[in-house]
């Protein structure tokens, strides 16, 4: 196992676990994992364990957020095993990924299994000054961002820190939300891109953009699942490993994650998409399940 000079900023969930599992499957171990433990419940917004002492509060909050962030992958794997097994088989074959990677998507392994250096940070969110402070204490480092959306300037301008992000769309053509679905609907196949983040949405300097084979899941796998559940299945099992595949196509034993060769993006090309309406989502799902 080779140590990779990168900090994985873990917003826990299938995406972060897919990255970590894929790196491990490639023989790579991130130098450090910084796990964000949110002070409030991800869904209800209620404060977590506020009457508990510090370390217990963090442990309790971590357990609760794990239950929330892994709810759908765990539920779907447990109750829709035909769908889960079928998706794993198809995706694993198309992306040449071992079943070990998929097993990690439900977040049952301790994060210590992926690194020798795991740190936990209790934060109110990405704007919390404690996060900037923690990252600036690491010195020059590449940080793999495992959440969604954009980062504020207080993080992007930290000296010596560069944020790597994997976007589930072929840049510069597919930016924004629901990248996997928009790629399937507009371009007929998925894509993913790795870039260094900057203030704009998916506009940073491009490390690599790649198209992947089209996968169509048989409708017979889905029983009577509604669109919302199929959407959750895609974002539990497909989107995370697509990104992870891209990550391991970029990062290898000799890679320097802080100084990967880049090309500027042509920001005049492409479309920034938003979350899909139910009607358009139905059409996109039809491209993926038929």
């Amino acid at each position: 196992m080779k140590d990779l000079p990168i900090t994985v900023l873990v917003h826990d969930g299938p995406m972060a676990r897919a990255y970590l599992a894929a790196l491990r499957a490639s023989g790579l171990r991130p130098e450090r994992i910084l796990l964000l433990v949110y002070e409030r419940h991800p869904s209800t917004g209620k404060p977590l364990g506020r009457f508990l002492p510090g370390s217990l509060r963090t442990a309790y909050a971590e357990r609760v957020q794990s239950g929330a962030f892994f709810h759908w992958p765990r539920f779907l794997r447990a109750t829709r095993s035909k769908l889960y097994d079928g998706m794993v088989e198809k995706i694993g074959e198309a992306l040449d990924l071992s079943s070990d990677v998929f097993e990690e998507l439900v977040g049952e392994s301790p994060l210590e299994a992926f690194t020798d250096r795991l740190e936990r940070l209790r934060v109110s969110g990405l704007k919390d000054p404690a996060l900037a402070e923690a990252l600036s204490g690491y010195g020059p480092t590449a940080v793999l961002f495992t959440g969604g959306g954009i980062l504020r300037e207080n993080l992007l301008e930290l000296p010596g820190v560069r944020f790597l992000h994997i976007h589930p769309g072929f840049l510069p053509h597919v930016r924004g939300a629901d990248g996997l679905l928009w790629s399937s609907l507009v371009r007929g196949r998925p894509g993913a891109s790795c870039f260094y983040m900057e203030a704009g949405l998916d506009t940073g300097a491009l490390v690599r953009a790649e198209k992947f084979p089209r996968i169509v899941f048989p409708r017979s796998l889905t029983d009577s699942l509604d669109d919302a559940m199929l959407y959750r299945a895609l974002f539990s099992f497909y989107d995370p490993v697509l990104r992870a595949k891209m990550l391991t196509n970029v990062l290898h034993a000799e890679a320097d994650p802080l100084n990967l060769p880049t090309e500027p993006q042509n920001t005049r090309v492409g479309v920034t998409y938003h979350f899909m309406s139910p009607a358009v989502r139905k059409a996109a799902l039809h491209e993926l399940f038929s």
């Binding site: 053509h173 609907l185 507009v186 479309v271 938003h274 009607a279 358009v280």
Partner: protein, 144 residues
């Protein structure tokens, strides 16, 4: 579709004022139905997609960049059909362009969302013109 557009045109003010008023912008698109969309129109449409899809609110007027509302009065319900029609007309135009499929679908997506927002706000959530707009949006999606 012509009769639907005529019906919607009848809801627009007779004289469309200058300035970055939402009703002026969508009203011109509905009345003039340009064959091609210029850069400023594309920017305005993209901004309106954002208002509808993300902000989920459309105000009556914005600054020149469409970033800041200059009048935070919600767009009156009577003008939402023109907004939806403008998005769908623009989607039809984009679809004709060689690389316009994505933009066209983005506009159709916003049209569906705008219909939902209208229904959330209106006392009568299913007036006949809305059914016609829904059909138009569904046809545009099917013909992608």
């Amino acid at each position: 579709m012509d009769s639907l557009l005529s019906e919607i045109e009848a809801t627009l003010p007779t004289a469309l004022a200058n300035g970055n008023k939402t009703v002026t912008f969508v009203g011109r698109l509905v009345r003039e139905r340009p064959d091609q969309l210029d850069e400023a129109t594309r920017e305005g449409l993209d901004a309106l997609c954002r208002k509808v899809d993300i902000v989920r609110q459309v105000w009556v007027a914005y600054d020149a960049s469409w970033k800041k509302a200059t009048d935070k009065t919600p767009l009156p319900l009577e003008h939402w059909p023109a907004l939806v029609a403008a998005l769908l007309l623009a989607a039809d135009r984009c679809k004709q362009e060689s690389d316009g499929k994505g933009q066209s679908l983005k506009l159709i997506n916003a049209a569906f969302n705008a219909i939902t927002l209208y229904q959330d706000r209106a006392k009568d959530p299913e007036p006949p013109f809305l059914v016609a707009l829904k059909d138009w949006a569904a046809r545009s999606l099917a013909d992608r």
